[in-house]
Subunit: 265 residues, 2 copies
C-alpha cells in the first residue's frame, strides 16, 4: 500500500481498470476512492479446492469476495473487467518462488486457472478515518507494517502457513472505536485479532516488519493487529504450488463495489 | 423443525450426540438448548468443489460453518463427534432421488466423502424470542413454512437451484427489530431476504408451503422471508449428483458451539 495519491488517478473504477489495462503500472491506492480494492490469487484447478477451503477455514485473513469458474476472466465484482490485464502489476510464482512481475498475464492464462478475489484493508482504513481514528501509516506516508506471526492458519489440503498480520498504532482512547468500526467489516478482515503485546504473536521487534515499512507509534499509541491479505501469499510461498499468479503488493484489483457495501448494520 | 421439546432431551451437546449415536431417532429441536445445530450435506470429492463454491457464492442460504477433509468423520464444531452416527436421522440420495432415511451412515462412508456443516435458523429463533419478537411457528407447535422462490441461486459448477426461503409472520411494529437481530447473525442465514409481498418471490399461496407446515399470520403480522438451509438440498435434487447424504429434516447435527458465538457485535 502506498499513500501518495497520484495526480493522474482515475475516480471511476472502469476508467482506472482501463488505464491499468493500457499499461499504467503504479500502485492502486488513491484510484477510484470509495470503491473496494481486492487482493488476487490465481491457481490451477488442481489447487483451487485447497485455496477455497483455506479461505473457508481462515475467513479473517482470507475473506473471499469472489471465486471464478475455471478459465473465466471476468468477475461479478466489476462489469466488463478482465482479470488478465486490469491490475497494474502482477506477480508470477513457480514452485513457490517469485519468477516475474509483469503488467499483464494474458499470455499465461489458461482454461485451467481459477481466480480468487480477497478483501483488503484499504476498505477499513477509510472507515477508521471516517470514525476519527488516525491511520499512522497514511500520516507518515508509508506502507503499513506487516508481520508473520507464530500462529498457524488452519491448514486446508496442501495449503498451510502462518497468519500474517498488519499493525496500526491506535491511540489508547480510540482502540475500542477501532475494534467496533472494523468488526462491522468482516469481508475486509474484520475486527483485530490482537491488541497490544506483540511478543504474544511471536513478533520480536515492531521496528522490523516482515513486509511493508516500519510505522512509528505516537506517545500513547497501542499496536493493534489485524489479519492481513498477505496471508495467502505466505501460504503459497510455504506450500509451493507449481504455478500461481497474484497481484504485486499495493497493485490491487479495483472493483465496482462501494466500500460501504461491506459495512454491516 | 419440530417444536415439542422431548422430556428426555439432553441438555449437554456431547450427551445429545451420544443418545443419537445410540439410536434415538427424534427431531433435535429442544436438545442441548443454546447450542448451535447444523444442517449436513455430504458429497463425493468430485462434487465437493461445486458445493464449496455454491456456499461461497450463496452465503445467505448456504452459510458454511465447517467443511471436512475427504474421509474425515470429525469436525472442529464438536469435540469427539462422529458425523456418520451422531445425527438422529439421515437421508441418502442417489442421482438426486431420496432412497433411504437411516439412523446412521457408517456403512456408506468412504474416504472419498466431504461433509459440509451449514448454519440453521434454530439459532436466530432463540435470538428473536430473546428480543421480544414472537415466533409464530413455535407458538402454533408447527414446523416453519418453507417455499421455493422464483429466484435462482448463483450457480457453481454443476450445482444450481432455486433460493428456498423460510417465512415467519412478524408483527408490523417488530419487523425492524427482527431485521436487526438476525442481521447480526450472518452465519445462520442473517437478515431477511424479503419483507412482505410473497408474490414478488413467486409464492402464490402462503397457506401451501413447499416444505414444512402452514403457519397462520395473526392480525397485523407481516410475512418475513429468510434464506433457508433447505436450499442446498433443493440444489441436490435439481442437479442430481450420483450420491449424497444429508440430515433428515429437523434431525440436525448438535454442535458444541454456543448460539451466542454466531451473534456479531
Amino acid at each position: 500500500m502506498t499513500t501518495i495519491v497520484p495526480a493522474a488517478a482515475a475516480a471511476d473504477p472502469a476508467t482506472a481498470r482501463g488505464r491499468f489495462r493500457a499499461g499504467v503500472a503504479v500502485p492502486s491506492s488513491g484510484w477510484a476512492p470509495g470503491h473496494t480494492q481486492a487482493n488476487l490469487v490465481v491457481l490451477p484447478r488442481d489447487w483451487a479446492w485447497d485455496m477455497l477451503l483455506f479461505g473457508q477455514r481462515n475467513p479473517q485473513p482470507v475473506p473471499l469476495l469472489d471465486v471464478t469458474d475455471p478459465g473465466a476472466v471476468g468477475t461479478v465484482l466489476a462489469a466488463g473487467a478482465d482479470l488478465r490485464t486490469d491490475l497494474p502489476r502482477y506477480r508470477v510464482w513457480r514452485d513457490g518462488e517469485l519468477v516475474d512481475e509483469p503488467t499483464d498475464v494474458a499470455a499465461l492464462w489458461t482454461d485451467d486457472l481459477v481466480a480468487f478475489l480477497i478483501g483488503c484493508s484499504f476498505s477499513f482504513e477509510t472507515a477508521l478515518l471516517d470514525a476519527g481514528v488516525p491511520v499512522r501509516n497514511i500520516e507518515q506516508g508509508r506502507n503499513v507494517s506487516m508481520y508473520r506471526t507464530d500462529r498457524a492458519c488452519r491448514p486446508a489440503g496442501r495449503l498451510s502457513g502462518p497468519l500474517v498480520v498488519s499493525m496500526r498504532p491506535v491511540p489508547a482512547a480510540l482502540v475500542a472505536t477501532a475494534v467496533q468500526v472494523t468488526a462491522r467489516m468482516p469481508q475486509v478482515h474484520g475486527a483485530p485479532v490482537h491488541v497490544g503485546s506483540p511478543a504474544d504473536l511471536g513478533i520480536a521487534d515492531l521496528d522490523r516488519p516482515d513486509f511493508g515499512d516500519p510505522v512509528e507509534l505516537a506517545p500513547g499509541d497501542v499496536p493493534v493487529f489485524w489479519a492481513c491479505g498477505v496471508t495467502p501469499q505466505a501460504a503459497l510461498m510455504a506450500s509451493r504450488p507449481p504455478f500461481a499468479i497474484t497481484h504485486a503488493p499495493g497493485h490491487m484489483f479495483v472493483t465496482d463495489v462501494p466500500d460501504a457495501a461491506y459495512r454491516q448494520l
